[in-house]
Symmetry: C2
Subunit: 222 residues, 2 copies
């Protein structure tokens, strides 16, 4: 059975326009390389420092080459936020899911978060610097960043809810409150270690976490 010419023609045209799997893969690799360069830059100079032109310079590509992958500065910034969040999930969230639900998972989430912040004391953290850059703006970049942070804080909150359900925390634990207090420790660590260069901030954050656990009656047996 042969298809009528009217149907065939667009099919051939579509084939010609569709890049081969190989070309698509190469395009993806290039895009990924640009995002990686942008991620490194954003940690240093901020998301607002990123532009198609700066990325072209850093990756030694033409501006139109970079533009072909992103189309706009905003899209580039959002790609960086997505990649940052993806890595955050890989390093902080997923490994903690290997721990049993309850207190062990909450502890793993905090420990992994601490590990990541300790590395970022050198490079900077987009979730923190980005919040300052975009806290009085509207638009898709701000929304993407706020959405990423909220997703993470909600995951932390859910782990606390589960720990309470497991009987690992006091029955009257306010889970949102506990998550808020943990977030505060991470922010204080980042501020005091990175900006003030206080040498004992990591111990302070760990001690603060131990204090919070005690406050909410943390125990492994229900």
């Amino acid at each position: 059975m042969s298809l009528p010419p009217a149907t065939r023609k667009p099919t051939r045209a579509a084939t010609a326009r569709t890049p081969s799997a190989r070309a698509m893969q190469k395009g993806q690799q290039t895009k990924q390389a640009i995002v990686e360069a942008a991620l490194g830059l954003a940690a240093q100079i901020g998301l607002e420092g990123l532009s198609i032109g700066v990325l072209a310079e850093v990756t030694q590509m033409s501006k139109s080459g970079v533009f072909a992958h992103f189309g706009s500065r905003e899209e580039l910034q959002i790609s960086v936020i997505r990649e940052y969040f993806h890595r955050f999930e890989q390093e902080v969230f997923y490994p903690a899911l290997q721990e049993p639900a309850g207190l062990p998972r909450v502890q793993a989430l905090f420990a992994n978060w601490m590990k990541r912040v300790a590395v970022e004391l050198q490079s900077g953290c987009i979730f923190i610097s980005g919040a300052v850059e975009f806290d009085d703006r509207e638009g898709p970049v701000r929304d993407a960043l706020a959405h990423s942070v909220q997703t993470w804080l909600r995951a932390l909150y859910r782990a606390v809810v589960l720990a309470k359900q497991c009987g690992h925390l006091d029955a009257d634990t306010d889970e949102q409150q506990m998550a808020f207090e943990i977030h505060g420790l991470i922010l204080a660590l980042h501020y005091e270690a990175r900006f003030l260069k206080s040498p004992d901030s990591i111990e302070r954050a760990n001690q603060g976490f131990a204090n919070i656990l005690r406050r909410y009656g943390a125990r492994l047996s229900a």
Copy 2:
């Protein structure tokens, strides 16, 4: 008795060069007006957004006029930090000194700090945004900012030390640790209320402070 010409001449010259008290006062007022405009701008666009040119535009002065008062962009930025710190002291620190040493003073410091942050949820906080802008830089602006924040955190720490000495806190209270945890609450409030627009952050910070006080055995009788 007449002075020899050699001595007289420089004296007359010095008099000519010294501005009258009235002119000096006017100069001070102009400088103060520029600093105020710069302070408002810095809260919105960051300390790094400040320049002699931008300030000239905002104050409708000539660039050389603004330059005459500051001499450099760095000096302008440092003047803004000093003025910010001065106001912070006036609003947060000095009123708390009216309270008796011990727990009442620690509570007043936190309450005044919260009041100020609540206002800054609209305008932004130079201590927080500046930390992100200058956390990977060296130089006199960073130093001035870090010095201001450290002075304030040390004042908070000293108030906690006094509270322990008054017997208002447990004898084994780690004062640095308590100050670190309080700082974390303020940072979490600023982040979650200003960037994430979480509606209940002020209550969370107040509840967190109550939890910290309980953790360190706060009581008014020794």
